[in-house]
Amino acid sequence: MSTVNGPTLQPDPQAEQDELNRESQRPRGGAVSRWNTLSRPAQWGILLPVVILAYAAPALNLPILSTETGGGGGTNWNINLFQMSYYALIAVGLNVVVGYAGLLDLGYVAFFAVGSYVAAMFTSPDSPFFKIPYLWTLPLAMAVTMFFGVLLGVPTLRLRGDYLAIVTLGFGEIIRLLATIIPAVKGQVGFQNVGRPPGSIIGEDGVARPLFSASNGAPWYWLTITIIIVVLLLVGNLERSRVGRAWVAIREDEDAAEIMGVPVFKFKVWAFAIGAAVGGLTGALAGGQVGFVNNQSFTVQQSILFLAAVVLGGAGNKVGAIIGGALVAYIPNRFTAIADYKYLIFGVALVVLMIFRSGGILAARQKLLAFSRKAYSFLRQSPGSASDRQRSEVKR
């Protein structure tokens, strides 16, 4: 039995049969496969309105959607949108680690924290370092967190996957502790006036104010979704490339992948480093928007929320990750009555989802990914039982 399988102690023919039944009962030609048969321009044609809608979201502050409870209460709609977008971005990053490569990272907030601190320490006047423009801290944050990702990944990724879970869980907490006890990173005092992108706007009173400010969420939101689109393009390309196929192979059966010649360790480190880089990028964005970075917001609970976002949307599915991330940020903002219970709710959601629908809202069907569209169109077109047999072979 492969070590990648869960701790089940004996093969369960009933479960396998159930799996087969489920497989055969799945509606053929559902929305996902119809989507996959469309040509690339047609896909873009459908996506364009979605993207435009996303950019127009600050204007969509409808009463039923709004997170503002009136009388200045609640969360400002644009700030809420920014929070949704950065949760979505972080879910896309974590999805590379958890969803594609099947590595459980329970300390993702650490990378987020490192990214925030990079942005803060190189732009805030409170820090003794030399200063660089804020936008340059975004790639710098990615590079630094990538370094941390490799540093953490190299010793642990050689071992079985579950050690990574506990090491990252510890790492998430350690980064927070280090931020508290190392004098140079200023613990709870933190860094004020973190930099912001250039640009200013003339207010109604004729005074020029910075376009990107802590109270104005919309520019930050637009910046973040632009970054999300770029990251999605890059990640999507990776997913369809040799790297993506290697990740899926590792996730499905590490031993088999190794035997088939996939450099397992190398690709695991890559997944981990790329995930870390996106986490750092998001941290730099969030630190910039809030304008203040200290050690208080990088808790383990945040890591679990990020994980919940990925799992909720469907691990391994980048669209699902975006939806999951947006929901995890939106639900506590919209329904303030349950905001106090959000950790409990998402904790229970994790367990219930894992037990009853481990695929999440949008389950990934990536067993076919390795063959991508060619296999899809081939299987859909070739007639008769031969295609059924091939299909089942490919799926197994």
């Binding site: 369960d12 409990l344 998402f346 904790g347």
Partner: protein
């Protein structure tokens, strides 16, 4: 370019200080303090090690199993009239009360461990999911229980409960050894020996070893796998209950909703250091983590360093010797 790097890393002492004077002065008292903490880590580590040995699963919820025991101990002791002042009781009454609290802690932890196994892991096992699903469920269960405690008791720790009047018993090279330290270390060693002997000698223990070694063959040989798994969880819970009262003896204010979390990571580090799946390794690893953590925090000057040092030890062990000091041997040890 080099100039920029030098500017980026200010070369003053604002990063890390090493305080060798404090380290040398407090060496012996640190040693005993570290061993005491280590004994508690060892008791918690045992639960991780047993479940890992049998199921190959990191039971993240074990830290909450432990903290349930801590709450039970605190509630029992508060009910018996203990508070933040040292108790003024006759010795037999004191021992009776402590045993009662110990029993409450053990039962609470065992019940929570049992429930976690029944509700989450057993349901999951029937579905034969990939390993990732188990780990996510485990962290979800841990998180859920943690926040149930948070909603019930709030963010503040429970008022402190002092079990024993602190009396120095003897000193070694100027380091005082206190009564509670001796009680905790002895309790940990006795518990460890009991569990070790149970697993080595009893029929159930043989079942546990068999399942750890080869679950399929064990099932074929007539071992009731599900029963063995439940028993393993319950033993882990009972030992965590012992750890709970030891923890309260050590840290009177130790009952907090997320108090188990970092302890859990350290205990897991201890289990890996000793060799995961190895009962004796759990105590050895715990004692070492306790010692290293205590030395580290004196040397570096803040109590949080103890956690950081333990984590670094975990990573170093994983690089240098992933099987731990004593090796992963639950299945292989002979009766």
């Amino acid at each position: 370019m080099l100039d920029l790097v030098l500017q980026a890393v200010p070369m003053d002492d604002s990063w890390i200080n090493l305080d060798f004077t404090a380290f040398v002065q407090g060496f012996w008292s640190n040693t005993f303090g570290g061993l005491t903490y280590g004994a508690v880590y060892g008791l918690i580590a045992l639960g991780y090690t047993l479940v890992y040995g049998v199921l190959n699963l990191i039971n993240f919820a074990h830290s909450e199993v432990f903290i349930s025991g801590v709450y039970a101990v605190v509630f029992t002791l508060t009910g018996l009239g203990f508070n933040g002042d040292a108790p003024n009781l006759a010795l037999p009454a004191l021992i009776g009360d402590i045993l009662l609290a110990l029993l409450a802690g053990m039962i609470a932890s065992a019940v929570v461990a049992f429930l976690v196994e029944r509700v989450a892991y057993r349901t999951l096992r029937r579905r034969n999911p990939p390993r990732l699903v188990y780990l996510i469920t485990a962290i979800g269960v841990s998180f859920t229980i943690q926040y149930l405690f948070f909603l019930w008791r709030g963010a503040q720790p429970e008022p402190s409960v002092i079990l024993l009047p602190t009396v120095p018993v003897f000193d070694i090279f100027g380091g005082l050894v206190y009564n509670f330290q001796i009680v905790i270390i002895v309790a940990a060693i006795v518990t460890m020996i009991a569990v070790d002997q149970f697993i080595r000698r009893s029929r159930t223990g043989r079942g546990i070893r068999a399942v750890a070694q080869d679950p399929d063959t064990a099932t074929l040989m007539g071992v009731n796998r599900e029963r063995i798994i439940v028993i393993t969880f319950i033993i882990g819970g009972l030992v965590a209950g012992v750890g709970a009262i030891a923890w309260i003896m050590l840290v009177p204010q130790g009952a907090q909703y997320n108090g188990g979390f970092i302890l859990g990571v350290k205990a897991f580090a201890a289990a890996v250091l000793g060799g995961i799946g190895n009962v004796r390794g759990a105590l050895l690893g715990g004692l070492l983590i306790g010692l290293i953590g205590n030395y580290g925090q004196t040397l570096l000057g803040a109590s949080e360093w103890s956690d950081v040092v333990a984590f670094v030890v975990l990573v170093v062990v994983l690089i240098v010797r992933p099987t731990g000091i004593l090796g992963q041997s639950m299945g292989r040890s002979r009766a």
